[in-house]
Symmetry: C2
Subunit: 236 residues, 2 copies
Amino acid sequence: MINDTLPVNIAQYQHHDKLLLAVDCIIFGFDGTGLKVLLVKRELEPMAGKWSLVGGFVKQNESVNDAAMRILSQLTGFKNIFMEQLHCYGNTDRDPGGRVVSIAYFALIRIEDHAEELLKEHNAKWVPLDKLPRLIFDHKQMLDLSKERLRQRVANHPIGFELLPEKFTLPQLQNLYEAIYEAQFDKRNFNRKILGLQILQKLEEKDKTGSRKGAFYYVFDSDNYKKLESEGISFI
Amino acid sequence: MINDTLPVNIAQYQHHDKLLLAVDCIIFGFDGTGLKVLLVKRELEPMAGKWSLVGGFVKQNESVNDAAMRILSQLTGFKNIFMEQLHCYGNTDRDPGGRVVSIAYFALIRIEDHAEELLKEHNAKWVPLDKLPRLIFDHKQMLDLSKERLRQRVANHPIGFELLPEKFTLPQLQNLYEAIYEAQFDKRNFNRKILGLQILQKLEEKDKTGSRKGAFYYVFDSDNYKKLESEGISFI
DNA sequence: ACAGTAATTGTAAGTTGTACAATTATATTT
DNA sequence: AAATATAATTGTACAACTTACAATTACTGT
């Protein structure tokens, strides 16, 4: 008899030799200097104990998108998170445990918002992109593709702000873009370009933590963005 | 007892109430003036007799990509076709016949190459994009997304040539781009830009069918493209 | 008052995009 | 043989954008 204390998805995994559908989430965060991704120590055989993206199985009565959102909110405790479908991974041998097709999603969250306890509960950890451990299955491929996609999106859509606090400074924003593109930008050109988009609102307040002079805070002006959206803007 | 003469995929469709995985293909062609898509009259309930994208179920021992390629070659008779995964459609109610998650692909083929007989066998037909019938399920959504993706791809990758004959003229190429973008371009600027990419090889021969003067044929120079690729070129 | 540090600002040169029309090569007609 | 008709081919000036580059400013701590 099967051990009833096993999580539901283990039971599914073992009992169906038909095709299973899973989701995996690449969850990006930004700590002010570098990009990080949320990884978990897998609890499920095969490959238990190895580092993995956050994932789970799609249930019979939920959409694939809902499944991804469920997995994400279980781990983070948040509901309104930027998330986008990345790619379907469907090779027959991608998971030695069975025929599992996985739909990968990538998500952007503010690390600061984040509940430490939930992470511990799930054996999850923020890992800098330049210090990645070996990942199971095709998860490294997923991560690589999501980095590329993030660059594409960030070039044409104002989603970088999802990774920053509500209020942020121009140097912070530049650090983020430099981390995403793994490149250095000129401060003068960067500021001119960003401010030229007219989607940032300057505040009176300054962030004094990084320098004597202090840097002005800005907020994303989504109203103005929507106005401009209909014309086809583009970033960076 | 179930009628054994039904095609295999019908039998599958009826006997599993678990999740099924399908692929749908958006197959684009170009007839010299307008873009067309290959549609079929569906033979399967529900919605039999309605217009549909070309699709089928993913088999237990084939990758999702292989399934898409299989569906595509069954209909066209060709193997080396440009094809790219588009998106996974996973709403629970997208197919009234059951829980079917579908991975959409888009493909580009040369209409001229095409075997008419195979099309008749499969009830398939080339339909101009501006004369689309109502499509089943979420197939219209798939088609809309694939048009957008085609525009993106064609702007950065030399895949437009997949839709043209081996030898083509600059006016033909321009017609193609104008069809894809639903826009008019200036001939001088278009020619300058395209030739500036240095990925076309000019032939001695002219196409005399379209004018007295005749237009020089060109071929895509994939060797030179590969050389330039490492630098990050971009079209249009 | 001074020193130190990071934020902020401007300008010139190069590159690319855009708008616009005359000339050329050929087949057909006169 | 010359004239005509048709679509292909070619150039140039201006505007917009990108890139490279360094001095000044605002503040805190000594």
